[in-house]
Amino acid sequence: MSEPWDPSKPILEIENLSISFFTRLREIPAVMDFSCTVMAGEAMGLVGESGCGKSTVALAVMRDLGKNGRITGGSIRFKGRDLTLMSEEELRHIRGSEIAMIYQEPMASLNPAMKIGAQLAEVPMIHQGMSRDEAWKLARQIVADVRLPDPDRIVNAYPHQLSGGQQQRIVIAMALMSKPALLILDEPTTALDVTVEAGIVDLVKDLGEKYGTSMLFISHNLGLVLDVCDRLCVMYSGEAVETGNVEEVFDKMRHPYTQALFRSIPLPGADKNARPLVAIPGNFPLPHERPQGCNFGPRCSYFVEGRCNAQDIPMVAVPDGHRHETRCLRSTEIDWSTPPAAGKVTEKAEIGRVVLKLDDLKKYYSVGTSAFGGGMQKVVKANETLSFEAREGETLAIVGESGCGKSTFAKVLMGLETATSGQIMLFDENVQSTPIQMRGTDTISKLQMVFQNPFDTLNPSMTVGRQIIRALEIFDYGNSDAERHARMLELLDLVKLPRAFADRMPRQLSGGQKQRVGIARAFAGGAKVVVADEPVSALDVSVQAAVTDLLMDIQRKNKTTLLFISHDLSIVRYLSDRVMVMYLGHVVEMGTTDQVFAPPYHPYTEALLSAVPIADTRVQKSRIVLEGDIPSAVNPPPGCPFQTRCRWKAQVAGGLCEKEVPPVRMLEGGHQIKCHLPDAVLASMEPVIKIAAE
């Protein structure tokens, strides 16, 4: 620290870094030949799909790779000093004081048994030898700096007493306690809701500017990187494949993987029928099964046999670029401006008769408030006056953040819970108070569900084929085992999985493949209405496109009604016909996709739209950051559920928002909004997302 360091030199220089993990059986290279530089005050984004080694790089910078991980080559220079050669003691002085890290799971990264203040104060007490009182004072000040209300209360609180967003702010505060020169953020907002995420991203950007901190920002979300970073580095299977300024990489990418990645994410303008997404074919290679030569070779549409798989590919500078490099032999040969080969354009599916109709559905739970059972009973209103209908062949998206009641709604619909009041008409049957045990096989097989978590959706101790056959047995399909077996193979074909997968165990499948099995199982009985609960949100972006595509395909073939539950507005805009926005159990807005994505908005929809990061440099968004966190469903605010965070509240006269739940208002074209705002104000709303003219 005392050594002079020239601020014009890079603050972090990683050169040819290689990292391996050693297991009993073999050495698994996790990162190979990775180089990147971060200048003072710069924010560097590290982007890639899960398993590409981006977090490993971050941990290597902290020199915290665990027992099995080892740096096998290269150097990491921080302010000119090589971290790979430092002793534990030297590292200890750098960790926390000069390099600090922020993690994905805020709850897990705070000590549950220590007060917030003590955890914060520890940092300057160790590194600057500050006295306890002074350190606590500083802690209080930094807590105020990260815009937390009532810092005095917070420093004396325990982590579990704060919400997820507040916890993440505390983790950020902890990282800033000793004003580090470099901040590493490992997916800092992945565990948070979008509207909360927007606040954190804003905070990180502002603090970075205020303290002049350099940042290494790790994320799988290209939109977020565009928001936060100056430069980025795209990683694929342990290697950096492209690095450069954010605008340059986004607009003039020079690596096939980067290009394919952008083509597989739903940007504004994509459309499921006219301009479908292009999924990247094939699968991510396992670390010990990487191909010879270019790692992306087998999935690349520009692949040339004998050249791309001949030798290791070096990083080369892109001509006319600003510190723009790519790991592609053919970067100068390919015409990067060719639009993607037009995917199969499909006809818009016809929307048929009403198959599902909900009328004034309510679901209340009663829960004990104290941790010891007993005490006061409280009623949680998970769903309030839910009314809508869904037609054959239609995709209805249900959008909302945690606690909005979408999962409860799915449970009630499926019959795992019964409704408190109201009606559900499924085809011609009233099912609101029929639990699943009482429903007929036919009703059950017509209404099925695709689950969110691919690692949880299949029974780990049963073969894939067996699980599909079981569904067929239950749905009374076929007369013999042979018939069912044949049908199971057809279903595997339907979801585009090799028939050999029938004998595999789920652990041998990747996330995307598991999700396909889940879809096959849902369609085993020829489902007519499918509830898809965030079916792709846990998948990598390149896989998301393929799974979404598959769902759409099957939907067109079977004329299925799809209830698509999601928090991701980009994908909702891409594939749904109609959208329903939920907040704390209420439907706050409903209409066709175009109606919902254009003004007039419900104030919540407006904020939600603004919060979703979009990976497109042409898009201009108005920035609306909501205050605070989503209130708990156990203790909702009086009046309008959104009033605590609404920026339009002042426009309603007489504090009506705090007193009354707004009525549902019908706007033109069947567009519904639950809001007190006068028509004039609604009409004056500006679109949140504008696409700059090309």
Binding site: G96, S109, V123, H160, M174, A371, F372
Partner: protein, 361 residues
């Protein structure tokens, strides 16, 4: 919180009543009563003599009624003898029946009379519990600190050499029940023909024949290191291994938590990571284990007291059970159940206090 404690106490009382009733029922089964009658009166009694003896001594009548009498919620039995004197449960020998109370169960403080020890049960219990109290105290003093230390040391660096050595020790002691370790310890340290005592005696380093005495009877009057070391170690060894393993598991789990990494990457030294961040979280689980260990210690106490002939609670229990001394046995089970339930309650409450996540929720 108050509601929680009250609820727990309610469940406790219910459990205690159920358990004592089971014991009461089992000890009052006809064959057991017959055995009692024969051992009390005469071994060669005929069946009808047994029946009348039982009837005369208050063992007749429905079990529930007698349980109520024992508990003190039903009036005690009374019989008019052939000589016209009134005898009864609540009428002590030689006192006027008129002044005797109607109820005299444990609720009134009457625990009955021991048929084996020929003493009121309260006296028997007081003496034996006192003796066992000392034994438990020393076991705790030896067991708790050493097992926690062992567990923390081996858990803080999983897979290290220290960990392997300590874990092997812990797993070996958990595989050694008290009657095995006791026998081995005696053979090793307190046998005139085997172990180290003959060698020491030959070398003239010890005055007696053995290093330690093979019994702890003398500790009833005067506890010394020499007469108490073996029984205490025998009980403690098993517990040490068990608690150490629990502590280790808890410690290794805590050490892999994200917040430990956070602390490490804050620049906290390893020592401080263990002391400040890991320890408190890691000790929550072992605390409940130590508390729940009491019932098992009770087992150890019974075995060790029998093995070392130390006339404490366990020894009394065995004597009472072996001779179907109903009142003593019931009293013992009340004590045992009480100990078990109270420790469970303490462990629950303690858990809540150690874990801020629950306390303030």
């Amino acid at each position: 919180m108050l509601y929680f404690v009250l609820r727990r106490i309610g469940v406790m009382v219910l459990t205690a009543i159920a358990l004592t009733f089971i014991v009461f029922y089992m000890t009052n089964l006809p064959p057991n009563l017959e055995k009692l009658a024969k051992s009390e009166a005469s071994v060669r009694m005929a069946d009808d003599a047994v029946a009348s003896w039982l009837e005369n001594n208050g063992y007749g009548g429905p079990v529930l009624v007698r349980y109520g009498e024992w508990l003190g919620v039903m009036p005690g039995w009374t019989r008019e003898g052939e000589d016209g004197t009134l005898r009864g449960r609540c009428i002590a020998n030689g006192t006027d029946p008129a002044t005797a109370p109607r109820f005299c169960g444990i609720l009134q403080g009457n625990w009955g009379f021991s048929t084996v020890f020929k003493q009121p049960v309260t006296e028997v219990l007081a003496r034996s519990l006192g003796a066992t109290g000392w034994l438990m105290l020393w076991v705790m003093i030896v067991m708790v600190p050493s097992s926690l230390l062992l567990g923390v040391l081996s858990g803080m660096r999983e897979g290290s050499r220290t960990d392997r050595v300590l874990s092997t020790f812990a797993i070996t002691t958990t595989a050694t029940p008290e009657y095995v370790s006791g026998v081995i310890l005696i053979a090793l340290l307190a046998s005139a023909t085997a172990g180290i005592s003959p060698i020491l005696a030959e070398a003239g380093w010890i005055s007696g024949k053995t290093l330690f005495p093979g019994t702890a009877t003398s500790a009833m009057d005067d506890i010394t290191f020499w007469n108490f070391f073996l029984p205490v170690m025998t009980i403690a060894l098993y517990g040490i291994g068990y608690i150490a393993r629990m502590t280790r598991a808890s410690m290794t789990e805590v050490m892999t938590q994200q917040y430990i990494r956070t602390a490490r990457l804050k620049g906290v030294s390893f020592r401080q990571v263990v002391m400040k961040h890991a320890l408190r979280n890691a000790l929550i689980a072992p605390f409940t284990v130590i508390m729940l260990q009491f019932p098992w210690l009770l087992n150890g106490v019974v075995i060790v007291e029998t093995l070392f002939n130390y006339k404490g609670f366990g020894w009394t229990l065995v004597q009472a059970a072996g001779n179907n001394d109903i009142d003593t046995l019931l009293a013992c089970s009340v004590v045992a159940v009480f100990v078990v339930l109270v420790t469970q309650l303490i462990s629950d409450i303690g858990y809540v206090f150690l874990n801020p996540r629950i306390r303030l929720a």
